[in-house]
């Protein structure tokens, strides 16, 4: 079965599967006290800079919660887009685990802007209302768009001028880096991001995400929070081995490049159908489009994808590290048939 449903419907990249097989020898100290984990953490540090630290968890939701648990109190407000995964796709996990309130900003393209945030920042303590502590953005956004380096830097500056932190939900951070023709350090460390949820699963891993703290002290209590958040893997070296494979020889970039290219190729191919209207710029590995319902159903039979906004007859079509040109060509052929 193949699909355009989501990049988490795809399997494990063969190089990563080989890494898992190779890691399955002998005993390894549990809970991350092993050489694979140490090596993978060092690898992250070499990528994000000497002041950074990286830790492994199971899911993207966990990465987001644990990224913010260190920098939020229960009375804090976390500022994010209305489309943010932490707002609409995590069943209220952020509220439950941190106790904090989400302050939700409207957006047409998934990106939030400094001028939207400013009115929510407080210049003095006002105990009747939650106190903003973090700005959280998603890169690639939930609408497939990509913040530019300047946009990220502007948000980081705004955050820091006001004693806030900037968090990036990077479930698809590889796709963003590839799309911007940049590297992780330039996009994240150098723009001033404080904390990053680094996506592994959608990048071709079986399971595993990383929380990357870009500055010292932000990870102060991370290990206690992680254990308490049920995210301490006992056989952690299997996550570490996957990340080592992903980050070595630029496998992350190769996977992202294919997914991104296939989305562009598919978008281009769809232009021949005048009934289809793209609603977002195709900047990474997703396509948002208004498609007449009848046509959409026909397309979904050829290869499944999800409705996005049923009222508008808008759909989301996702490519993955394993999407092939042939698959797209077949898809187009099937639609035409």
């Amino acid at each position: 079965m193949r699909s355009f449903a989501s990049d988490n419907w795809s399997g494990v990249h063969p190089v990563i599967m080989d890494a898992l097989i190779n890691a399955n020898v002998g005993h390894h100290a549990a809970y991350g006290d092993d050489d694979y984990t140490r090596y993978a953490q060092e690898l992250f540090r070499s990528i994000f800079g000497p002041k950074s630290s990286a830790y492994f968890v199971f899911t993207g939701t966990a990465a987001n919660i644990l990224a913010l648990e260190n920098t939020s109190h229960s009375f804090s407000a976390i500022i994010c887009s209305e489309h943010a995964h932490i707002n609409v796709d995590e069943c209220g996990a952020m509220e439950k685990h941190t106790g904090a309130k989400l302050v939700v900003l409207p957006t047409n393209n998934g990106k939030i802007r400094p001028e939207q945030i400013k009115p929510h920042i407080k210049t003095e303590r006002f105990p009747h209302q939650s106190e903003p502590a973090v700005i959280s953005i998603t890169q690639v956004t939930e609408l497939g768009t990509v913040y530019s380096l300047e946009e990220i830097k502007a948000l980081a500056d705004l955050a820091h001028e006001n004693g806030l932190y900037l968090h990036v939900d990077g479930a698809r951070i590889s796709n963003a880096a590839e799309a911007l023709h940049t590297d992780f350090k330039t996009m994240i460390t150098d723009t001033g991001v404080d904390i990053l949820s680094f996506g592994g699963t959608k990048a071709g891993m079986m399971f595993g995400e990383a929380v990357v703290f870009l500055k010292p002290e932000l990870d102060k209590y991370f290990e206690l929070y992680r254990k308490q958040a049920m995210q301490l893997s006992s056989k952690m070296h299997y996550i570490a081995a996957q990340f080592i494979a992903l980050l070595t020889k630029d496998l992350w970039k190769q996977n992202a490049a294919n997914a991104n290219a296939m989305a562009r190729y598919l978008a281009d191919s769809l232009k021949q159908f005048p009934e289809i209207t793209l609603t977002q710029e195709v900047q990474s590995n997703g396509i948002w489009a208004i498609i007449p319902e009848e046509l959409a159903e026909k397309m979904q039979k050829a290869q499944f994808f999800y409705p996005w906004d049923e009222k508008k007859s808008e759909y989301r079509i996702m490519t993955s590290w394993d999407t092939s040109k042939k698959e797209i060509d077949d898809f187009i052929k099937a639609i035409k048939a």
Copy 2:
């Protein structure tokens, strides 16, 4: 590297690794809406009976929390042993996630008894104190001992007579079933257990545990709680495929039988050292023993294991599904040398 540190230092059983490799084909619907997951859930139902339901999570801590989140309120009390994993090994996760209070009972052998529990049961509402909702036991206990079927049934009866639930933390449930020469249904369903945390990782999996509800309705909100608890795996079929391998052709029993037999063999071998005194009956895959410090250090150099109670010079030696007779013989030889 080999060790007697813990059964979670061992790797993935080859049959399970093959299952992962075989599952890595094509796309699969995310978040458990796939055939592997459905099949694995059906397999659990066939084992535990038609009223049961099973769900997959990442860690044992998560299994325990999610087992109890459905049946506890924030004002509830959860009664357990002082050695319970939920009390001393989960960084306060139960308190944080459920809000409930742990009522902790002393025990010499890891087992709690009905007469210890009775004084804590309330016959009428008393809002100044947490209200008992669940009795939680561990099978195999944290001291390597195993509750008999009669002991489990007595606790289940006590719970039900008083409107409480009985939960079993079964991180090593396979070892217990094998040790009792029984099957899961007889030990769990037929004794009246309400909820079971079913261990996968220590039984030879890479990651993955199951929460098994033995009665209808107990899983009413499970899927919402699981997502909120950051435990919804996107590529869930990789957990399911492992459980299918573990539960098919009695691989669980074969793995447990080896671990248990090796613990007995090692315990027997240690009897030749009069300085070593076993402190618990060897009923599963762990050995608790007082060992003079100097001797212990020598032994740990041969193959590492953990101190248990440094004040008493007591140590814990764990065998695993992959422990071999030769490994033990070499260990004994090394000590003698």
Copy 3:
């Protein structure tokens, strides 16, 4: 000092103060097991109907949280207005204590409408998102407007058709009942409201609010939740005595009638100033108005009131049970001067 800042700047009505003095004799069983509390609870039942039950807490925030703790899970969504006290005036207390997510609807006049709510209701379980459990409205709203009986009933019907509850934050419920020329039972019980936060402090008490459950079972765990929420008063008969005074001989109505009438009188008096534009209909004891900054400052010196929306130069002027005609006349005179 007098003010138009808020109805909680006023003191204790003399009849209620007398009730406190009279209740200060001898000993009374603590924690509500006393005759005053029983009598006051019975009084509430006689007002709201035989299926209702009432309990006392300290603050309005507490009443709101405890109203919803029984009917929400941590994965629940609570639907409310963007202006709702639970959203903007309680420092995130709802999120922290229930774990639930607030779904916030825009509104011009403080009232939310069924058609805004419907898109948020789910017809089947979807574990990625919080599950709506409660619609919460404020009566009198935070903008001084009052829901009609029909509007309340429509919301209650919508809630019940979809398995939700309707909660009313009634910090100023007396003002609403007086404004609608109705009684509490007609406005609350008969329209189908499930849970009511009944305001005491703003109605002329020293401290104390009530949570009224209109249907059986909704108070099932209330007493445990109240104790755990630090809201169990040890000398509870002092709250009860105040409520008895407030609810006997229609003192609540007399207080509300004065506050409401004084707001109308003040609004009428302000009409002589063409620079002042009322922004909300004056339906209870508050006036919202755009006032040129210079004029506003002059007025605030005469008698203080708060800015509401500084960008729009909008202000809120509140009257209270103790506001007098003379006070208003003096205020107008001072402005003119």
Copy 4:
């Protein structure tokens, strides 16, 4: 009605009632921004020293939770006695609101000792277990005993040497100060206590407790936590006015002296009944005694008091600020009759 049930069955001292009446004039800024509150806070500072700060809340449970919310994380452990109010009388409020774990130490007389605490202190981070953050003691203890200044200082020293805080639950702190013939500063500030819950209700107030932080920074987020904990009183000056009355002209001491003296007098009077055995030293305003059931029932008819440990036929008899010698003489007479 009179009783020996608890010091919270008694009413409001007339001087305090007068203070409430006198404070009931005009308007006062809400939420503590008033002169009474400022004066009362200054009064506390003058008593506890220039580095201290005091804030008002409604209940003793709230004071304890809010005392510790600033200094505990959800992964923290709070070390206390098995009899601690936070452990057995607050319906699990501490666990719910802070997320922390209570580490409970056994005690015969209500006091915990440094040597019991030391084994629970960790010298390095161990993320599998909650990390001790606070030692919490009760003064007067829940068994009527009183820590000496030396005992408090030893616990404070132990706490500080290990990066922990010392909290005192002082619901009956006035009785303790009077019993030790000392003042609050000597007992609390000078021994090194970090945070104090200062009891008002049991000392003769209608409602209201204070949280006193003895060191700067410990109150950093208090006002946000208090609002979120539903403990921000809108008409706060009524709490402040009571505290001003209590702390002026040593009313606190006069009240405590009477309660303590009456307990001693009652204890002495009970010595004539050889069937009655005191089980704790009478150091404050409570008597613990084993009394044959038949005799106890007769006594309870004369004036009610609570059983403490029904299995041992042990009872608790409490005196209050309003207990009189005549009342005790009548009680003794009634028993003899």
